[in-house]
Symmetry: C3
Subunit: 398 residues, 3 copies
C-alpha cells in the first residue's frame, strides 16, 4: 500500500505535462511521454489513496465501459470491471466470435453501435500477431470519425487490455510495483531485471508481457536482460526498439540465450513462458484460414520444441545466483508440481514470493482507472483535489 | 443532434395525453395513440438534450432492468443497456435456452422470479412467428397478476425489443430520424417511403422491421410503398391493417412486386431483406418440433428462392430514380462486395449514406429510455423539468 | 408484505447480539447463534420496509459483488443480483469451468484476483458432495490470509448461495415466510412441518434444501418430520445434528419412510425431490474422474429407483390429512401434468398454493441483502436508522 499523501501526489501531478492524454487512447506505452506515464502512476496512487481513505472516486453518474475481449481472461475482466465501477461506469460486454478477424465496415459499424453512451472501450486482442494493435487503431479511427461526424457526442477512449505488441496495463502495474518495492521510480535506474522465457507445458502464450516489460523498463534506465532459448525471439522490431530506448535513457538492454546469464546478480527476475514469434505468426495464419489440422500440427511441434527447454525453470538454485531478486509474474504462473508437472517456477520459489505477486496484480485496477480518468479530463489534478476535499463516502456509516 | 430547447420540449409534452402509459407495457406501436407516440419522441429528445447538456437523467438510485433475449443481438443489447444505465438501472441478463418456447406455469413462474426488484423487462423474441408477441403478452399478464396478488410491490414494465409482429424501438427511432431529417413530424405527411425487400445471401431474417415501418409510417400520413418479390409477403393482417391506418390518417399504402416502382420518385428508401411469412411459419414449426433436417431443407429452398431475386439491390441506378431519397437501414446491412458478394445495397450507395444510417441508430437508446420513463411515471414532464432545473452533473468536473 | 414499522424493527435489532457477523462469512445457519439469525430476519424486513417506503437502502457508492456459480441458476442469480444492486454493488460474474474442482494455489490465487475491489462473493457450489462447503471455507481462508497480508484493504465476505450441506439463503427465506404466515417466530414453536422427499422424473437434485430446512427449523422449536423412501437419506451427520438441535430447542425431529405419516396433521408441508446421499457421492466421484459412462449408468439406475416411488406425490388426498397445511417449495416445482407427467405435486394443489410459493421466494433478495449488510458493518441498526431518517428517494419524482 502506497503511503504518499494526497497533497504530495497532487503536487507531483501538477508538475507533469499530460494534457494531450485527454480525448485519446492508451494503446502502447511507447506512444506516451515519460511525463504521461508518470501521470498514470500518480493518478493510480491517488485513486488508491482516496479509496483507502473511504472516499469514493466516482466521477461518472452514468455511462458504459465496454469490454471487448477476443480471449477469455478472468483477471483482466475483473481488473477492468473494478476500475470502471470505481469511477461509476457500468460494464457491458461485447460478445464477438473469437475466431473472427473483422475489418473495414464491420469494425466501423460495430465501433459506433457500442459507443453511443459509452465512455471507454477496453480491448483485449492478443491472439492474432500483426492484427491486435491494428484492430485497436482501426476502432479508434472509427470512433474519431464518428465523433467528428457528430454521431458521438463524446468519443469513448480505448484502453489496450492486451494486444499482440504491448500489455500496457500489466507493464504499468509492474512498474508501479517496482517503484514501490525499490523506493521510487528514480531508484530503478541501473537495476538489473531479467525478463526471461520459462518452460510451460502449454503453447501459444502471448508475447505482449515480455514485450511490454522490455519496452517500458528500458525507458526508465533499467538494465534489462532479455533471455530465451534460440528461436523464441519476440517481435524483432520491438527488441530493436528496446535497445534504442535503453540507449536514450542511459540504461542497458541485452539479449541472450541463457537464463543463468540473465539471472546472475539480477535485482528482479520475471520468468514467463511465451510462444516464439514465428509460431504465433503461423498460428495467426491457420486461425485466419480456419485450418484446424494446421493448428493441431503446429501445437504438437511447438510443445515438442518447448519440451526441449524444461530446464528453463526459476528455482532456488537460480534464485541463489541473483542479488536476492524480487520475483515477478503476471499470473497465473505455471508452478512445477502444482498446476503442472514441470513449469515456469518451482513451488518453493513461488511460495516465497506468492504474496508479492498478488500485490503486483493489485495495482492493475487502479492503473486502468487512472488511464480512463486521464483520457476523460485534461484536469485530473483538479478533479482529484475536489474529490479529496468534498470526500464523498464510498460506504455509508451510521 | 436535435436542437429543440428543453422548455419547448416540455411544453409540447404537457400538451399531450399519455398518462395511461404509466404502469403499462410498450409492445406494439398500434396499441398507442398518436399522442403517446409523440410523447415517446419528445421524452427521447428531452433525455438526449439533458445528456448533451451534461445533466444526468438518472431517476433510479437502484433497480434492475432485465434483458430477456431469445436471439443474439449486439446492437439491441447495447441500446437497452445504454438506456437502462442512463436512468440508473443495472442490467441483468436472463439466459434462456434459445430453442425453447415456454408456456403457462413456466412463463408465469419465471416472470415473477426475475421481477422482485426489477423496473423493466426488455424482451426480444422474434424467431417464432405467431409466438413472440403472445409470449410478451403472457409475461405481462403474469406480472399484472403477481402485482395484484401483492407479490410485486412495483410491476416491471415490458419493452418489446423485437417480436414477430413489431419492432417498436426501431420503428420509433426511424420515425425520430425522419422527423429530424425532414423538419418535423408534420413534414412527413405525403412523403413517399419505399419499404422494400432486398436480396441477401442469408435467410430467416425477421419481418418485424418492415411490419413496424408500414404500421407506423402510415399513421403519420406518409405515402408508404411496400414492395417485395411474389411470395415474400408480410403477415397478411398487418398488411391489411397498414392500409386502414393510411386511410384513417389521410396517407397512402400500396403493395407491389416491383422495387423500381416503389423507388420511383421516393423521398425515402428502406431496402431490407426478410424471409417470407410462410417460410417463417414453417421454420417455427420445425424449430418447435426440433426437426433439424426440416430446417436444413427449408434453408436450402429459401436460399435458392432468394437467389432468384438478386436484382433486388439498392444501387446507384435505382437511387437515381428517386427524389434524392434518404436511404435507411436498421443495420447491419448486407453490402455487396463488403459483407457478401451480392447484398441489399451496393457499396457506393451505402458509403454515401453510411453516416446517416449510424445517426438513425443513435436514436434508439433514447427511444428505449423514453419508453421506460413513460411506463414508470404519469408525470414525465414534471420529472424532466425537475432534472433540467436541478441539473445534476453526469460527469464530475474539477 | 410485512407490516412491522421501522422503529419496532430497529428496537428489536438493537436487542440482539450479532456484532461478530461483521467481517465474517455466512456459510451455514448452524454456525450462527439464534440472535444472529434473528438479526438477518430483522434487517431483511427493515430493508424491505425501506424499499416499500420508496427509500433507497443503497449503502455502497461503488464496489463489486462477485457471483461464483458452479451450476446454472436463474433464480439464485437474480436474487443475488437484486440484493447487490439494492445496496449499490455491481455484479461481476466469474465464469469457471463447471466440471472443475479447484484446490490449493488455484483457489487462493483466484480468490485474491477477484477481490481487490469487491465487497462480497456469492458462491453456489452444490454439485460435489463433500466439496462445496470445503471450497467456500478455502476461499474464505484465502481472503483472510490476503487481508492480513495487506493485499486486500477490505476482505470481501462470502455468502453461501447453496452448497452440498446447506442452502442458508433459501432456509432463511423459508423461515421468514413461516414467521410471517404464522404470526411471528415464537408462534412456530411446536408447529409440525413435513419435510418430505417427492417423486421427480429427474435425478441429481441437491440435498441442501432439505438439509437446510431440518437444520434450521429444529432450532426454532418446530416439530420437524423428515420422510423419504428407504435409501434416500440425507448426509447422516446432518440428520443426527438436526436431532440434537431439536432436543436443545425443545422441539422434535423424527425420520420416517412414509409420506403419509409425515403429512398427518401437519401444519406445513415441504415436498421436494432430491437424490440419495450415496448417489450424490458416486456422482461426485464420476464427475471428478470425468467418467461419462459411469455418470450415464448412475443416472439410469437412479431414475429407475426413483420410478419405484411415483406415489410420493403431494396431492389433494394427502393434503386432506394435514391441518390445512401451508404448502412450501423452493421452486421450480415439478408439477404433475404441467412440467412433467408425474411429479412432486399435483396441479390442483400447486395452483391453490402457487401465490404463496411465489411470496416465499420473494423474501430471498432481502435475506441476501441482510446477510451482506450484516457482514459489512457491526452497526446495522445505526446504518438503517440513518437511512430511515435521511430517507433518500429510490426513484426520483417530479
Amino acid at each position: 500500500m502506497n503511503t504518499a499523501d494526497m497533497s504530495t501526489l497532487l503536487h507531483e501531478l501538477e508538475s507533469l505535462s499530460f494534457e494531450s492524454m485527454s480525448g485519446s487512447d492508451f494503446l502502447l506505452t511507447w506512444n506516451h511521454s515519460p511525463d504521461e506515464l508518470r501521470a498514470v502512476l500518480t493518478v493510480s496512487q491517488a485513486l488508491r489513496r482516496l479509496r483507502s481513505d473511504g472516499i469514493s472516486p466516482r466521477i461518472f453518474d452514468s455511462g458504459l465501459a465496454v469490454s471487448l475481449f477476443r480471449d477469455n481472461s478472468t483477471r483482466t475482466r475483473f481488473s477492468f470491471a473494478s476500475a470502471a465501477n470505481l469511477l461509476g461506469l457500468a460494464v457491458q460486454d461485447l460478445d464477438e466470435k473469437k475466431s473472427q478477424i473483422a475489418h473495414g465496415e464491420t469494425v466501423r459499424e460495430t465501433a459506433v453501435m457500442i459507443s453511443f453512451l459509452s465512455e471507454v472501450i477496453g480491448i483485449r486482442d492478443d491472439m492474432y500477431i500483426g492484427h491486435g494493435h491494428e484492430y485497436m487503431v482501426e476502432v479508434g479511427e472509427s470512433l474519431t470519425d464518428a465523433h467528428e461526424a457528430g454521431l458521438l457526442e463524446r468519443r469513448p477512449s480505448i484502453v489496450n487490455l492486451q494486444c499482440d505488441r504491448d500489455h500496457p496495463t500489466q507493464a504499468m502495474a509492474d512498474l508501479q510495483h517496482l517503484a514501490n518495492e525499490f523506493g521510487g521510480l528514480e531508484k530503478l535506474r541501473g537495476k538489473k531485471i531479467a525478463m526471461t522465457w520459462a518452460y510451460s507445458p502449454s503453447y501459444g502464450k502471448p508475447l505482449s508481457v515480455p514485450q511490454g516489460v522490455i519496452s517500458l523498463m528500458t525507458r526508465f534506465g533499467m538494465d534489462v536482460r532479455l533471455a530465451y532459448p534460440e528461436g523464441y525471439n519476440l517481435v524483432p522490431e520491438l527488441e530493436a526498439q528496446a535497445g534504442e530506448f535503453a540507449q536514450n535513457a542511459g540504461g542497458r538492454f541485452s539479449v541472450s540465450n541463457s537464463m543463468d546469464e540473465a539471472f546472475a546478480d539480477a535485482d528482479i527476475v520475471y520468468p514467463k513462458s511465451w510462444a516464439p514469434f514465428n509460431v504465433m505468426q503461423k498460428r495467426t495464419d491457420f486461425l485466419a484460414a480456419g485450418d484446424a489440422g494446421g493448428l493441431e500440427r503446429l501445437e504438437q511441434q511447438a510443445l515438442q520444441e518447448n519440451a526441449r527447454h524444461m530446464d528453463w525453470e526459476c528455482n532456488a538454485d537460480r534464485m541463489g545466483t541473483t542479488n536476492d531478486a524480487l520475483y515477478m509474474h503476471c499470473l497465473p504462473a505455471d508452478i512445477s508440481g502444482v498446476s503442472c508437472e514441470r513449469g515456469e517456477v518451482s513451488v518453493d520459489v513461488f511460495e516465497k514470493h506468492r504474496v508479492a505477486t498478488y500485490r503486483e496484480a493489485g495495482y492493475k485496477p487502479f492503473i486502468i482507472a487512472a488511464m480512463i480518468l486521464l483520457s476523460k479530463t485534461p484536469n485530473a489534478a483538479g478533479v482529484l483535489r475536489k474529490l479529496a476535499e468534498s470526500a464523498p463516502q464510498r460506504v455509508s456509516s451510521a
